[in-house]
Symmetry: C2
């Protein structure tokens, strides 16, 4: 442990050395990748990091330095050197697809929907998307937002910030672009278990912000809100979170606030049909507008969890509801998390081991004609609701090339017979067309708004 009598100068000196070591480590990781690969990568960050990059290699020092780490009151202790890579991770703004779709789940997120202001049309929308893209491009690289940065992200690296923009169905009426509206934006069907609040649903424009640092995410939210100016008004806004990087030693599939491993069946980019299922092709099929090339559709649901009820249920009952073991997400029919469910197996009592109404059975891709969506949610917790129960649950966000082949058929089946539905409540819903990523000098949505 560092002596508490250490001087501030000693302390600063030691940290500077660590920053240098870290930069070297990052240089070693900075190998070229596909521009459409939105995994975080090392990048130049804000001014605190600039000027401290050293060319000398000393990777072996990293954990030695960690041995000297300690804390002092109300300050974060010197992080082990490699911990500082959290801040320096950055995700490219440009690419075939927008960031924030295949980017690993973020520790913090904000969702915000806007409606165009009365009188604002296509011209104002184009100017707004241009401003938004300029800001996103800057802050995702760790640069200040234009026009009076709030300073909230100063000192921090980009912390893998992503900003993702989408258009709601109503946007196309407001901008006289109805002829370019994808059929995939037709309203989602009503589900019998919906308890939707229209004021927190839909919207002309939607932005998803994600970062591994809460202040970086908040900074982005405020910058983009400011950019809206008089062109658009906030319709709704929600905050979410996931596990912090490093809290688990494995890159575990996420857990949700019910304690369930959640996301096991997600398609993987390594699967040959991943792109086809999640993204509109570079040459869209007939009937899909050309401006959606490389795009995707996001279904957003605020799913309240009735945690007081859920937590009263004994573990064995919870596992029957889900069809998987809580401890590791493995099917009740055995194996490990990624093992396939044996949907036909019966127990000694002759009953199905994975019950007929188990969530995992009903939502299994094989039970839904291979329907595939990429779920990339945030948990939310907005304190205690007016009814005294926790206002907590899942900001469910799923991505697919076609909602009618992804979310809709699965939700239809869940709506009819999912044992989990007694413990959740869909409180808000949105469906957004998320265009492909911007090219150099381009803004997101330009191909819709200017072609």
């Amino acid at each position: 442990m560092t002596s508490v009598s250490e001087t501030r100068q000693d302390h600063d000196d030691r940290n500077l050395r660590k920053v240098q070591n870290t930069q070297n480590a990052q240089a070693a990781r900075d190998v070229p990748g596909d521009a459409s690969d939105h995994a975080p990568r090392p990048a130049l960050s804000r001014r605190r990091l600039l000027g401290t990059v050293s060319a000398a290699g000393a990777t072996g020092l990293a954990l030695g330095a960690a041995a000297g780490a300690t804390g002092y009151a109300a300050r974060r202790p010197d992080p082990p050197t490699a911990l500082t890579t959290l801040g320096t991770g950055s995700v490219p703004f440009e690419g075939a697809h927008q960031p924030g779709i295949t980017t690993p789940m973020h520790a913090r997120g904000h969702l915000i929907a806007f409606d165009l202001a009365p009188g604002a049309g296509r011209k104002e929308a184009a100017a707004l998307l241009r401003r938004w893209s300029a800001s996103a491009r800057a802050i995702m690289a760790g640069e200040p937002a234009g026009g009076g940065d709030t300073g909230v992200a100063l000192d921090a690296g980009p912390s893998s910030l992503t900003v993702t923009f989408g258009f709601g169905r109503s946007f196309f009426d407001r901008t006289d672009l109805t002829d370019r509206r994808p059929a995939a934006l037709d309203p989602l069907p009503a589900f019998s278990s919906d308890h939707l609040d229209a004021r927190r649903s839909d919207g002309d424009l939607w932005i998803q912000i994600g970062s591994d640092d809460a202040l970086v995410a908040f900074h982005a939210l405020r910058a983009l809100q400011k950019d809206a100016g008089t062109a658009a008004r906030v319709r709704w806004q929600m905050n979410g979170f996931n596990r912090s990087p490093g809290a688990t030693p494995h890159p575990m599939t996420a857990r949700n606030l019910m304690g369930q491993v959640d996301g096991t069946g997600n398609p993987k980019p390594s699967e040959p049909d991943f792109d086809r299922r999640i993204f509109v092709p570079a040459k869209p099929a007939a009937g899909t507008p050309a401006w959606m090339a490389g795009g995707s559709y996001a279904v957003v649901r605020r799913i309240r969890m009735l945690l007081d009820d859920w937590e009263k249920l004994p573990l064995a009952k919870q596992e029957q509801v889900i069809g998987r073991h809580k401890s590791d997400g493995s099917p009740l029919t055995g194996g490990k998390e990624t093992s396939e469910l044996d949907l036909d197996r019966t127990g000694p009592d002759g009953r199905l081991v994975v019950p007929a109404n188990a969530h995992a059975r009903i939502s299994a891709p094989e039970a839904n004609g291979g329907a595939a969506m990429l779920r990339r949610p945030f948990s939310f917790h907005d304190g205690i609701g007016p009814d005294g129960t926790p206002d907590a649950g899942l900001l469910f966000i799923c991505w697919q090339a076609d909602p009618l082949k992804g979310f809709v058929p699965v939700q239809r089946k869940l709506d009819r017979g999912d044992a989990l539905s007694a413990f959740i409540r869909h409180e808000a819903s949105g469906l957004f067309a998320v265009p492909g990523g911007a090219g150099p000098g381009e803004y997101v949505g330009q191909r819709l708004l200017e072609s």
Copy 2:
């Protein structure tokens, strides 16, 4: 970058090796410390980590392994090895002082206040504090909470979790312990700028939860709520956050949501009078009840920031309001963040460089008879309020041996003439007596409730 065609088994194998490396690194850091030192330290964490500890040393591999890190859809990428220390950090429950006071600021926090249920008195309160201490002792060590753990923290290490318990003034009436109530719990004076909501203020019992992982913090919140059973009812609950460990390369003083460096003047444990100012002595002076030995007093204020107004103010005006530079927190009279303010210096126009109503001038310890409090806040952001402005600001928490020598004199001065007061609003307030830490086998508050 790892090839996306890597098999799951390859992936797991590589991670297992990394866990082993990390454990070795932690073993190197695990040096004995003062039991009252609540800086996080390595510890055994949950079952995923158990069984993977290797005795072989291979610290030099850490950053080499990081060079192979990448991500795949909707999963965190393999973190650089040392990143996994975030989860394994743990803070001891026992000690002269409770944890969560001098512990470095946490990325996530929950505050929750309870009132004893009608009919519940000293006996029920003692049983409740016993349950709470048992749970805190377990979950701070990464063990499950008793009686039906929700599973939300499974897979994660303790992530530097702390749980801190306090008693409000009303607690002593409810438990017939008025004769043991410290005079320091006398109600705070009313301040002219207060806009306090009684429903979100005060409370018989108060718990502060902090962790560097959001799910670990939420898990603790639910476990402690469950422990309350029929003995106590939630009065109010708030959520907060700070920068993530590693987002900044330096252990910077925190920034708040106004973008200001906040906490520069905090007393440091290395200062000779730190303990005297922050903690009640082991042998309390006459007039202070013996059960408060090693304790402290927490003042909690929900301070809403009027960010729409603040962000419209040009940078130079913001700096006049604060008296410091926004970029690095240095005084307007020059130097670096920790330099003293030159309160008498005038500029070429003959006016004070640090204006008479600047926040830093009025709150300076030297301007307040050496009043000292340890500020350890969280930011909060509860979305957009009914008035359309961000419901965001600071969960101000300050710690002191005597509120009449810490918070009260400083707030009195700020209340009379702080330029910052036009941009903030105190919306809720609490004052809690936080007893000393538990000894082996003891529960927090036992010396009050059983002696």
